[in-house]
Amino acid sequence: MLNRKAITASMLSAVLLLSACSKGNNDAGTDSASQPAGNASAPAGKKVELRMSWWGSDERHERTQKAIELFEQKNPGITITGEYSGFDGYMDKLNTQIAAGNAPDLIQMGGNIKEYVDKNALLDLKPYVGGILNLDDFNEGLVKSATFNDKLYGVTLGVSSSSLLYNASMFEKAGVALPTDQWTYEDFKSSAIEIAAKLGKGHYGSYDLSSDVATLASYLGGVGKELYRDGDRRFEKQDIVGWFAIWDELRKAGAIVPADVQVANPPTAVDKSLLVNGQVAIQGASASQIFGFQELTQDRLALALFPNGPAGSGMVQPISGQYLTAYEGTEHPEEVAKFINFFVNDPEAGVILGSTRGVPPSGKIRDTLAAQSTPVDKVLYDYISLVSDTAPPVVYQQFPLDNEFTKLLQVTSEKIAFKAKSIDSAVDEFMTEVDKLLLKAKAQ
């Protein structure tokens, strides 16, 4: 029979296990990180094994894998293992790998590159420039954007811009005029309402973009404010109330995706977005994502600028959307530099990769691609040059603690959309938290 002693002993060991697990939980993300860290001690001339991580859609995975295979053919003795996934969780996993000292040799990095530079996680590529790494065909701005303290920490893989990705076939089906370069929030609202009304139940003019940081930043630009500059926010409570009021109006009109549907089908996941199956006409996206989306639908997709505000366009100049960076702890920096050079300069690789990460940074590759561009390539190229012509010549500054800010905007937006809070009190809370984040960022 179970007696008290046996029970007590089992309980005690259970409590011990718990305390162990409360740390153990932290390791949940590291399972996949504990792959062998390459063949570290290979002497020169022997086999070199590298790892490369990136995020993206299936379309990008296939192209990248093919480019890697081509590199391996041309460089016998070097093998590269791809570690790829969607964007969700990509940074979490990378953080874990860096903390554990076994990050991939080659890392695709986004706009948050500086954060990793500050934490000494990335390798200075400057010593290889002019030798193994040729950046002659790059315009100066692109090299500069990855240069910090006179050191080069990454190579731009493509130029992109935030955008409104829209389903042009749905506009046509509803008989609604396509977005123009000059459209305003009034135009945006009436288009969305009309599309939803004409196409009927289950169809919406737009996703609820109130939680999208890029769209909010452009809206603030349009009303003569900014999200952030030099340590401070450059907007007031009223601006944010105005922002949520737009989306509230559209929500009440049934023109945007209801909150629960949006949570279940987030626009950020290509395979779940309702844009590709013709249910939602507009969503936010980085312009280069159009390839991944277009591949999944027969409908014609296109790119539009964010609507203008009373102060004009709040667009941001095209940016280096992604960089290829090297892990500070790599055992084979030369091979890594060699691959980076191949990835951005080799004409064959250029053709394989296309514009899946945005407009290629090398002039020569762009020329090669222009000769055989697809209609989607053209949409992207035209859009990027439109953005450079439209966007005011201001250098955009990202809100610090980007992850936390994004999450805060998301939760605020959900509170309003699910009617858990009024706009006014949700925005009050938002402002308080924003100021806390700013204080925290200053303290770092």
Partner: protein, 296 residues
């Protein structure tokens, strides 16, 4: 000498566990205690900041309050349901049926998967707006909500999933039921007791040590739930923090926001909460747990 040898052999057999315990459990526990007093972003060296993390938890983090509320709601609902379900099944399986071993296995194996990623993904499909569950209730003319994407219901889909992890609890109940002497039931039958009376007067009292054991273990497990919430909410704990279980928030703090010092402090707060709850269980146990070895 002989005695020494016996001990040595014992420790030798213990060694694999001991090594695992020291390196995989004990040292991380000590490290997390140290880290909880530091500011540590995973990428650069930790910096000592004393009690700041603990102060911030109590004064400056409304999301932690949300998270604790959600976690308690989850624990308070999922634990009783899981225990009741497991006990019910154990009693069914204890009816002296044929092929008991087979049934036991059939029920046990799927429930082992209840905490896994694959089942969480499946669950997400089942309780989707157009999922099987809504289709099923659709036959009766009920239009179901989007269970996992609506902040009012999301936590209940997690609770439902947790009931599915009844397996090991059920096995222990079954063992407990088998320990109850048959003569007691026979005597009660002779005295004219019905099923319910036998359950209330014989089964339940004699089973209290096992219930106590299962209750405590399940409570501890439930406080640490992570996988379900992570998969079903896509790692966000949303919508509106409605599935932000404690361990998930701890993960987000540590790995997404890179506040590993703070996350470590949270782990210790969780330990204290669980220790307190377990302590209360032990203290009250003397009033409701009956040990038939006659020492009470």
């Amino acid at each position: 000498m002989q005695k020494y040898k016996t001990y040595a052999a014992g420790y030798l057999f213990l060694l694999p566990w001991l090594i695992g315990f020291v390196f995989l459990y004990l040292s991380p526990i000590i490290a997390s205690l140290y880290l909880s007093f530091t500011k540590y972003d995973l990428l650069t060296a930790p910096k000592w900041i004393g009690l700041d993390n603990y102060k911030a938890m109590f004064t400056d983090d409304y999301r932690l309050g949300d998270s604790i509320k959600v976690t308690f709601k989850y624990v308070l609902l999922s634990v009783p349901f899981r225990l009741a379900f497991a006990l019910g099944l154990a009693m069914l399986l204890n009816q002296g049926m044929k092929f008991l071993g087979l049934y036991r296995t059939i029920y046990y194996i799927p429930s082992l998967l209840g905490g896994s990623v694959a089942i969480s993904v499946l669950w997400k499909q089942v309780f989707d707006k157009e999922g099987i569950f809504n289709q099923a209730i659709g036959f009766f003319g009920i239009e179901g909500p989007n269970w996992i994407a609506d902040p009012r219901y999301a936590i209940y889909s997690l609770i439902g999933l947790s009931v599915w992890q009844f397996g090991s609890v059920m096995i222990i109940f079954l063992a407990g039921l088998k320990q109850i002497p048959q003569e007691l039931y026979e005597a009660a039958t002779v005295d004219g007791a019905g099923i319910f009376r036998k359950f209330a007067r014989i089964t339940m009292p004699l089973l209290t040590p096992v219930i106590f054991f299962n209750l405590t273990i399940t409570l501890i497990q439930s406080f640490q739930t992570f996988t379900k919430a992570f998969i079903i909410s896509g790692g966000s704990g949303g919508p509106i923090n409605s599935t932000l279980l404690y361990s998930l928030y701890l993960y987000i703090k540590g790995f997404t926001f890179l506040d590993m010092g703070y996350a470590s402090a949270m782990a210790w707060l969780l330990l204290i909460i669980v220790a307190a709850v377990t302590g209360v269980m032990f203290l009250t146990s003397r009033y409701w747990v009956y040990y038939s070895d006659g020492r009470d």
